[in-house]
Symmetry: D2
Subunit: 298 residues, 4 copies
């Protein structure tokens, strides 16, 4: 089988390598000539434009996009659109918003698969979890590629109609926020609690047989091993938040309470800004009780 | 009527003044001779010890304690105990933990009234809200004093048996935490939101007829007037938390969810400490996604 | 001064009455002829269509819309638009979404004031709190009307540019949700706690001098008086939620954490639906611990 | 090596079987003669009382208690105490409160190890995760037994001084509550959201390579397989809550915010009781806005 891959960043490059390893052919393109050359060295056929990539594909095109969510996806699709036919299949493997994927699926002539991809850089060796939305025939057609990119046949599935792959990935990320914060609360309590504990040893013991064992807990173990028991100079500041925000917005629309996911998202906002509301609460304590008001230091 | 008042800090002194203003007699004592002298100047009879205060009271003793919650209450009661008879009435007007009040009521020979007091320094003019627990006869007996110290007859009531006054006050404070934080959230959103708003004007407009009008909202108005629209140098740090902690502990025991009160209490803890759990979550984002980890600056 | 009022439901009718009481003239119209007739009996001049109402106004038109938020506002504006000039002023006193108000202000030839109105039916006697957005001259022009409809001059203010009135009202309602739930938590703890309490007496005592006194707390007092200490047959189900949802959505966009408002909104959703997530959690307890799983009864 | 095991319920019996399988000797006792006989059939030596068990142990006693947390532990220790010497080692493998373990460790003449045990019935095959507190020499001494009962050497560790094993297990359970609820929120949103999804397939896809893969997520997969995509007749009611309550109480004492764990615990309380506070909030909506109040049906 032959696959075109557009976007050769960390994740796109893993797709290229896993598909090549599985014995398939890859035509690769990235806006960075360097990244394209590196993929060529790894065994892919280099293309020097989106149009060139399309031309180099034999028969019906099967193309995997791994470009940043947002405008880059639309720009790439604009370049592809003049060439695409209804027998072609385009996979968006990035973190696109599901409503964008629905819109794009409707707009293109090709069959469009939105593919939520989870697993991060560790997926290079293990393979990813792939949540796919879109036409069934296109999903079937791409199965060899999904087998190669995922952990295997169990690591990918068709969720449903257009958008459902990115929808399930969005919810996955919302849950991810909450899980991270849940472990964070546990380790913070252990860190500030009554015993002087080796948190790496705690995580390792839990990872071997405890109910809460998980891959994220293995990453906690790794974090304590690499950063130290007090996490060294890691700051109290969590970046990111877009997929969590989407999850909460969708939950609001569906009237589904997601207080843990909301709280985990709020912690990110909280970690990045002074809180005006708390400053007001502090001042109110003076208002009704003449309690001292802590002031900013010069 | 004649009342002994022990403890002449800001709150105790307001009790003295309001009882005097209502035409009653006061015998006053404080560990600070200065505070005692000041009360004497205001019209009270000065005592130079707890024992002396007790002796100066005619007939059955009616004594109001306004000393800091905790050991100071027990120490004062220890001094009083040798003198007390079952016809005497002792009022604890401080912020004692309700189980301490139950214990003290059982331990003393006198009738013991636990009296939750709310209203802060503003009570000097308006009078307080008094939530009283303990024997009905003692509550009736003290009615003239309660009328004077409270905003009037509607400002005090007997809640129930021993401890109930401080119990209701504890819950009052839990609600107070949540109300402060709720207003804080609203004003924070207005402060950081789409319009450049005069928050004092917002608070004033709300205080005149809006559903959320309240005394705390009047204090918000005052805070913006006195500190400025951006709250000047008020720090993002809220002190205190004991009565809120008691409220949550009791709610846990009763299996009553109080998520808003809990959250408001957590904001206080949060404002006072770097969060280890968030630092871990930030590091985990590197673990699974190779996202940059913000580091503390030197 | 002369005011046209379109929409004569409970709230619109209060506007008519208060403006008449203040000595102004009112031309009134409602889709229900009955409602229009009732306003006429109260002293207003009846109009039998939007166009007719516009014609009956002398000089530059000053028109107050009090129709349900959403399509009804647009429909009314469509009827008005052919007549409006840049010297006319239209006030939307309903609960419109602020972005709709911005859009409408841009679309109309008239000066457009978005006016958040708070106070409910009680405003009939007390007057409302009015948060107004839009051009300053139009706000000044309508001052006599705002004085009459509000609690007085302190009960209304211009918040800022178009949309700011409904924006501030939206946040007001978010805070309102949280305040209601905060009092709810306190009274639930008292209801299920250690003492057998008269909750109306608690509310009354708090309303007289306590820090948490407020109009909503007066309504709690009224609720216990009218429904009984256990709230009789009031169900555990809270309707509504749109303005709270808007508030949380806007807070997400501004990255402002509003956990209390979110929680209060979630309680509404929660009260209306069985929770699938809790059913899953219950089943997981069997999965890892062989705990009995409660099953629905037939 | 020879181990006495007291308490032969599901968990105690797994301990017996795994220790026997590892080639050690077991003397077993349970208040139920039947349970003791079953253990004897499996290869253990039966004892007919605590005293008899102690006598049957050669040399220094090594005894594993697997009885319900609380009074049963104290009762068993009372029976053992007359026989114990400072060379004996007692392990409490149950879910005891850590402060009870500290107290018991101080009270007994023997070396006392508190051992948090996680993994549930699945541990029969895989082995458990064991978090051990107490004297180092005793932990070293019992290593062969811990190797057998745990998943292997990586599945047990000494956390620290007396109580630390049960302390870490308590926090483990708090995190467990939050993780369960986090997955619950995600699947509830998928269940009530825009797509008609096969939740077992979602869970399986996630378990193969996704960031949020975990043992609890495998149990979700199993739950959907066994109960159906809508969880059949599983009720919206979560039992239990004691270890979560302990975790929150300890976090309050340490002033560590644990909002996700608190929320997950609250969901349990919430699922078991009608909410008075929500009934009040519903009634307040009538108070200020004349909104209809839902009433209980007859």
């Amino acid at each position: 089988m032959q696959l075109g891959v557009i976007g050769l960043g960390r994740m796109g490059r893993i797709v290229v390598d896993r598909v090549l390893d599985a014995g398939h052919d890859v035509v690769a393109f990235d806006l960075s000539a360097e990244a394209t050359a590196a993929a060529a060295e790894a065994g892919a056929e280099a293309a020097d434009s989106v149009a060139d990539l399309y031309e180099r594909l034999d028969g019906d095109a099967r193309i995997w996009l791994m470009v940043p969510a947002g405008d880059a996806v639309d720009a790439t699709l604009d370049d592809l659109e003049p060439h695409l036919t209804s027998d072609d299949v385009v996979v968006d493997g990035g973190n696109s918003y599901f409503e964008d994927s629905v819109r794009r699926a409707e707009a293109t002539d090709a069959a469009y698969l939105d593919c939520g991809t989870s697993g991060g850089p560790a997926g290079a060796e293990l393979g990813f979890s792939l949540m796919v939305g879109g036409p069934e025939w296109a999903y079937e057609e791409l199965t060899p590629v999904f087998d190669a990119v995922a952990t295997g046949p169990a690591g990918h599935d068709r969720m449903g109609a257009a958008g459902s792959g990115h929808y399930v990935k969005m919810v996955h990320n919302g849950v991810e926020y909450a899980l991270m914060q849940a472990y964070g609360e546990g380790f913070e309590l252990l860190h500030r609690g009554r015993y002087d504990l080796d948190l790496e040893a705690v995580a390792r013991t839990w990872n071997n047989g405890a109910v809460i064992r998980s891959w994220l807990l293995e990453l906690c173990e790794e974090a304590f091993r690499e950063e130290g028991n007090d996490l060294g100079d890691v700051a109290d500041r969590i970046e990111g938040g877009s997929t969590g925000t989407w999850t909460v917005q969708e939950a609001l629309e569906q009237e589904v309470p997601v207080p843990l996911i909301y709280q985990a998202l709020s912690e990110r906002f909280d970690s990045r800004e002074e809180r005006f509301g708390r400053r007001l609460a502090s001042r109110l304590r003076y208002g009704f009780g003449r309690h001292d008001v802590p002031r900013r230091e010069e």
